[in-house]
């Protein structure tokens, strides 16, 4: 009797995935037909039916972008403003919502101003790397066998380098500054993007519509831009959105190590490194920039996941 009980319990538990996947199939189909309606109501309805990842991630990303754009309006104090007498006030102090750092500067204001370099150093490298990496991937995927071999073997060598250390070495060689962080991260991110694009291009290459394009006399550039790029774009957009999350972490990490934005300037990683010196006096203070970097990174990753669902892109290992 007890044996049967165990089995039914097992079935109860393990039968769940079947219903679960069916439900997800249904949901995935539900995204197919765009909800009808015009004007504001139609727009709102369309937004409402987006995958939750797009809504949540998009809100977080949108919030940070707005903060960065309107920093001068939003920040209660200037980024360098502060009295030594007010140093190391705790989180929640009157007049300083998130406390003050070791030099008495308002932490909230510094984080708001810091959104500018931190987001820039996360987004721009991915854009630059996407441009270069996509071109390389397209040439490798569509080009001659020898071209393919040359590009992919070169990328293998770049790939053999540990990404973080590569970024650190390049940043160290170039010296401090946001521009140098952007250059260092752009170089590091080219190889992974090129690899993803190459894999996608090879899958598209054999498709019938490619033969059709070639048969109707389309040149290499036209085929690449009109046939291939639209087909690989969803994967590329999803991948790059998640990469921005990673790039924000790396960019802040370089500043955290003292290789990115130079000290008096506000930048999330630099602020974190600064407050780390006071970890034993005011431990909560250092957790604020740590959490901000984390939330920004989560925002882009959740947005990437939502876009993956929306654009129906398969997860890559």
């Amino acid at each position: 009797m007890s044996r049967i009980d165990v089995t039914t319990a097992d079935i109860d538990i393990f039968d769940a995935p079947v219903t679960g996947t069916e439900r997800e199939d249904f949901e995935a189909e539900a995204h197919e037909p765009a909800p009808r309606g015009h004007g504001l109501r139609g727009f709102l309805r369309r937004v409402w039916t987006l995958p939750s990842g797009v809504k949540i991630g998009g809100s977080i990303v949108g919030f940070f972008v707005l903060v960065a754009v309107f920093a001068p309006v939003l920040a209660p104090y200037g980024p360098q403003e502060g009295e030594l007498a007010d140093r190391l006030q705790g989180v929640g102090t009157a007049g300083h919502l998130l406390g003050t750092d070791g030099q008495g500067r308002d932490l909230l204001s510094r984080l708001i101003w810091g959104a500018r370099p931190s987001l820039t150093a996360g987004i721009l490298p991915v854009l630059f790397a996407a441009l270069i990496g996509t071109s390389l991937g397209l040439v490798a995927g569509l080009g001659h066998r020898r071209t393919h071999g040359l590009i992919m073997r070169t990328l293998d060598v770049v790939y053999a380098f540990p990404a973080v250390l590569l970024a650190i070495s390049i940043a160290a060689a170039l010296g401090v500054g946001v521009t140098n962080v952007i250059i260092a991260l752009s170089i590091v991110l080219v190889a992974p993007i090129a690899r993803v694009v190459e894999t996608e291009v090879i899958q598209v290459r054999g498709a019938d519509f490619m033969d059709a394009a070639r048969a109707s006399g389309a040149g290499a550039v036209v085929t690449a831009s009109k046939q291939v790029v639209p087909n690989i774009l969803p994967t590329l957009v999803v991948y790059c959105t998640s990469l921005i999350g990673l790039a924000i972490v790396y960019a802040a990490g370089l500043s955290f190590l003292g290789l990115g934005v130079a000290p008096p300037n506000p930048e999330w990683g630099a602020i974190l490194n600064d407050l780390r010196q006071n970890l034993y006096d005011e431990p909560m203070l250092a957790l604020v920039p740590a959490a901000v970097i984390f939330i920004a990174s989560v925002g882009f990753n959740v947005l990437g996941d939502g876009l993956r669902e929306l654009l129906n892109v398969k997860e890559m290992a």
Partner: protein
């Protein structure tokens, strides 16, 4: 299988050669020279000249490369400019420390990833399954330094139950138990992001397998759920193995932030410090060891993949 392994091993030779060339050239491009770093600001020009000659830095770049390359082939990674020690043993010591940290982090990543990924694949509608899904998404994005500082604040500053730095305590017994206590916080900080990635890969591959026809046919024949799950789990092995290998490779090279925060005497920290001190031979040796280790891990993963999955074996 041995043939497959050997063929893959041969294929990495050009990659390693490329790595050696790039490491050498990159470091030559770094501005500032080691002689000035060594002697300090008060050095006379003649002292500098003498030192540059001693270090062989005045010869042509090809001669420098050739000498270095020959030495590397013989296993000699040169001498640290600042520490006056042979680079080889120094780098290998640090490399093993990093391996300890990476293994600890991998245990957390794989065990946690299996539990979280499995739960979110098997019970996607329950609160627990959803929570696991969110934990996976959140931990993928965790910056090592954020979580590292958070752990130090909670466990070392507030509760004072775990050490915040180093591998062993300066007082007391330096045994395995001591090491384990020092390992816990850095391993969690380093292992959290890989854990999220392992969880996601496991979830999506388990999800795919559970929809496969053979699972349906097992169910139809009345196989108990536990047995179905065993077969399904077996089919997620290739994906799991590949991602674990990739993440292990990422860990041995990517823990520099954790090593900095927790003063863990690993290779990442050594290379980072050497970059600041312009100690070229140490950077060259360290990066070379890491790159070779990364490439070797990839070969091992590919071989193991071929061993458990006949589909990827060459005909």
């Amino acid at each position: 299988m041995l043939k497959f392994f050997l063929r893959r091993l041969l294929a990495i030779i050009p990659i390693v050669f490329g790595v050696i060339v790039v490491v050498f050239l990159t470091l030559k491009l770094i501005p500032g020279d080691p002689a000035s770093a060594l002697l300090g600001a008060s050095a006379t020009p003649s002292q500098r000249k003498q030192l540059i000659a001693d270090l062989g830095l005045n010869r042509s770049i090809f001669v420098q490369f050739w000498n270095w390359f020959l030495a590397v082939l013989q296993g000699d990674l040169g001498h640290s400019i600042l520490r006056q020690q042979p680079v080889g043993p120094m780098v290998m010591d640090a490399f093993w420390n990093t391996m300890i940290l990476a293994v600890g982090a991998s245990v957390i990543a794989i065990v946690g990833g299996l539990v979280i990924g499995g739960a979110s694949a098997l019970w996607p509608r329950t609160l627990f399954g959803r929570a696991c899904n969110w934990i996976a998404t959140g931990s993928v994005s965790t910056p090592q330094y954020s979580i590292g500082l958070g752990l130090i604040v909670i466990f070392a500053v507030n509760w004072e139950i775990l050490p915040a730095s180093g591998m062993y305590s300066s007082t007391g017994p330096q045994n395995f138990w001591d090491l384990l206590q020092h390992l816990i916080l850095p391993a969690i900080a380093a292992g959290l992001a890989p854990m999220g990635i392992v969880a996601r890969v496991f979830r999506s591959s388990l999800d795919d397998v559970m929809r496969a026809d053979f699972v349906e046919s097992y169910r139809a024949r009345g196989a108990p759920s536990r047995k179905v799950l065993t077969h399904a789990a077996h089919n997620t092995m290739p994906a799991l193995l590949t991602i674990s290998g990739l993440q292990f490779g990422y860990l041995i090279s990517g823990v520099v932030f954790v090593e900095t925060i927790f003063s863990w005497p690993g290779l990442g920290l050594l290379i980072y410090n050497s970059i600041a001190q312009r100690d070229y031979p140490v950077i060259e040796g360290g990066v070379l060891i890491l790159a070779v280790a990364l490439v070797l891990i990839n070969v091992l993963v590919d071989t193991a993949h071929a061993a458990i999955d006949p589909r990827v074996r060459p005909a």
